[in-house]
Amino acid sequence: MSTTGEKNTARFGHTELPEEQQQALRKAIKWEWITIIFLAVSTFLVYLVLGNSQAMKAAWIEDLLSFLPPISFLVATRVIRRRPSESHPYGYHRAVGVAHLVAAVALVVMGAYLIVDSGIGLVTAEHPTIGGVTLFGSTFWLGWLMVLAMLLTAGPPVVLGIIKMKLARTLHDKVLYADADMNKADWMTALSAAVGVLGIGVGLWWADSVAALLISTSILHDGLKNLRGAIGGLTDTRARTYDDSEPDPVGDRIDSYLRSLGWVREARSRVRDEGHVFHVESFVVPRTWPRATLRRIEKARDACVDMDWKVQDMVIVPVAELPEEFLPGMTRGGSEYR
């Protein structure tokens, strides 16, 4: 868990990170390692008391799956540091998208499997058997240990989730966000499992399967949400904010800046999310062609890049009129802009 190569983390490809993002990245790496250590301890602990409870099994598998996002994040942050090369002119940013997709598919498959598995248990009226456990010379009900393990592992992920959520926003990192989101909701999984086990305890054999169904439904829900996001990113949807809640405002800011320039008559951009950073193509119609000097175009580009650290891979294309085919739904005759 060394953070060797910290010096190299100052960049994503050829994007140099501002101080705030560098710090956030270092913290995110540290917290993801802490997450992995916590998960290693908690999965081992839960494994020891797994027994015959379906809900415990579901909770345990969710714990195991929780390893994927932090590992994906750590691998991806190493890969994207590479500079663009002749064979990878856009850099390696898509590694984040791939990591996101891998994690999402695993969640979907596991969620679906667990729903079927617990559903069968419920339909065939399987009565879960939990007997005694002998510790320090006394034999007591194993269910109590299960509940204890669940309560012990319920709290820490919530704290980890809240910390990582902030970092995900600063870094515009959707893998980190997905991870934080899952962690934040982990306490519900743990409590559901505890309720399922206690349900067995009071003689309600079905409580366990019902709790397991709830947990697996939530795993599937997580998976589908992330799958949608990951596929969206990989298929070049319009760049959205780190939590996919709305289009990223940076596109509009670039457009209104370009339009405010004296030599520009119309300007429109298309923006796609490469993982952390954006690819921006801005089409600019000059008022008169002689005013579109190389110097002015260069200056406008520098100003846009300075606007947001995510904007680095940007091109400004001077055009005679806005190319409708590249800007779907955006050019309504072009007359609405001065």
Binding site: P128, V133, G143, W144, D181, M188, G201
Partner: protein, 163 residues
């Protein structure tokens, strides 16, 4: 995550209900089919399958061996009368599954294939077979009858088994 409302809606009242029940003096775990209650002061139906020194079935009289001895002691603690039901392992497993037996013995190991039909106790002693493979010895109980299982587990763990 699931729409949180749905989940919270299930979890929180569930916890409250269960905590309420436990504080009302309901012991945990309970038997869904009430086995422990039925056999206490009543009849304990025990399936027996012959297996070397563990269970011997003489032509007349009660089964002999290590496990029948343990079961007799266990029945005493519950003030129960034993009804011995001899049969092959698969018959006993099926009877347990259909609620026609309360427990079964026959020198079963913890790796018994009958885990779908029956619950198993904690291993109460360990031996090695002629190939040097360790065998953890268990008894079979009905699936999900956890109060009865815990009672038996607690009894077995407290025994010194002489081989």
């Amino acid at each position: 995550m699931l729409p949180s409302m749905l989940k919270m809606g299930a979890v929180i009242p569930g916890l409250v209900l269960l905590l309420g029940l436990t504080s009302c003096g309901i012991t945990i775990p309970q038997d869904p089919e009430g086995t422990l209650e039925k056999v206490s002061g009543g009849i304990l139906r025990v399936g027996v399958s012959e297996n070397e020194q563990w269970v011997q079935l003489p032509p007349t009289g009660d089964p002999q061996g290590i496990e029948p001895g343990l079961v007799e002691k266990f029945a005493d603690t519950l003030d129960a009368t034993i009804e011995w039901v001899p049969g092959a392992e698969h018959e006993l497993a099926s009877d347990l599954f259909h609620g026609e037996l309360d427990m079964a013995i026959g020198g079963f190991g913890a790796d018994t294939p009958w885990v779908k039909e029956a619950g198993i106790t904690r291993p109460y002693t360990e031996t090695t077979d002629e190939r040097g493979k360790p065998i953890k010895h268990v008894m079979l109980v009905p699936l999900g009858e956890n109060a009865f299982l815990l009672e038996l587990d607690q009894f077995l763990q407290a025994q010194e088994v002489e081989l």
